[in-house]
Symmetry: C2
Subunit: 185 residues, 2 copies
């Protein structure tokens, strides 16, 4: 669990997930692609046929406390369940106002007032989720969140995304792309 | 303040700082070099005459709370004061046991029990310090801390380093290299 997991999400014409739709929610758009492939390493920007590469690293939790970690561990599913045909990649950028806050102020907005962790528990184990940190890598987004779920949970996922966008925490989001995907056959 | 600052520390035969001494405190050693140069970007590993490159990013605080941030801001000096001929680069790696802790547990060890922030205030403004995060970059160390001070404060710096090594927090350090430097003339 303490190991880091580097990931690159590659946007291209073909790949392991086909793009169902791609929507700029806030901020600068990302070039349209037909497919996205996750790769377990930090790849360079340019390769033949590649439109963009977004890099991130799954690493230690930044806000979760012990009791919350235990609650999550009890219901949190792993990435890679074979029945999960659907996926989403949601790159997020947070504002300077967010990054100028101190740890206690960010935690208060994240959980005490936005209930980020508690509210998400409702969507587990249906929706698997992995957060990747990108900010320290000098990437255009600060976070890349990857979700996996079964076709029957598409509406539940929609509800999760709308719930998060309505929180106080989301006032600090100034860039968000919503990419919905389905496994290539 | 919210901007990230990417840095590479380049170990080579020549450079902007001459190595006074280089000591493996804990864990795997780093190849001996005669000079270290900080560069304001993430450089690739290999270049002619370069022995090693350590990369990190100065970014948002992870444990500091608002009251502490204000206390620090009042006395914390900037990097680059012309009278600071002396510097130190201390790459640190923390154990899996540390990274498996949750945010509240790490904060308790960091400040409530190790007094990391409060104890360091005593050494300001004599010693300037900048922390760079490396873990998400897939680097061999998790943190690279860079210090700058005047020749007359070399003993004070020694005291700061010994104080930190005696804390509970340091039980979670499993790699540490101590590189003392002086500006090349």
């Amino acid at each position: 669990m303490a190991a880091i997991i580097p990931v690159s999400f590659v946007g291209a014409e073909t790949g392991s997930y086909r793009v169902l739709r791609m929507n700029t929610v806030l901020g600068a758009p990302l070039a349209a692609v037909a497919a996205v492939t996750p790769h377990p390493s930090h790849l360079p920007d340019s390769a033949p046929g590649v439109t963009w590469v977004l890099r991130g690293t799954n690493s230690a939790v930044r806000y979760v406390e012990r009791a919350e970690a235990q609650a999550l561990a009890a219901v949190q599913p792993a990435i890679g369940r074979p029945n999960c045909s659907h996926a989403a990649l949601i790159p997020i950028r947070k504002s300077d106002a967010w990054w100028n806050l101190t740890q206690d102020e960010r935690r208060a907005i994240f959980e005490a007032r936005s209930n980020h962790i508690a509210s998400c528990l409702k969507y587990l184990p249906a929706i698997a989720r992995r957060l990747h940190h990108s900010r320290e890598l000098g990437e255009p987004f600060d976070f890349l969140t990857w979700f996996e779920y079964e076709a029957q949970h598409a509406q539940l996922f929609e509800e999760l995304v709308q719930m998060l966008r309505a929180t106080e925490e989301w006032n600090y989001v100034d860039g968000e792309i919503d990419i919905r995907l389905v496994k290539s056959v």
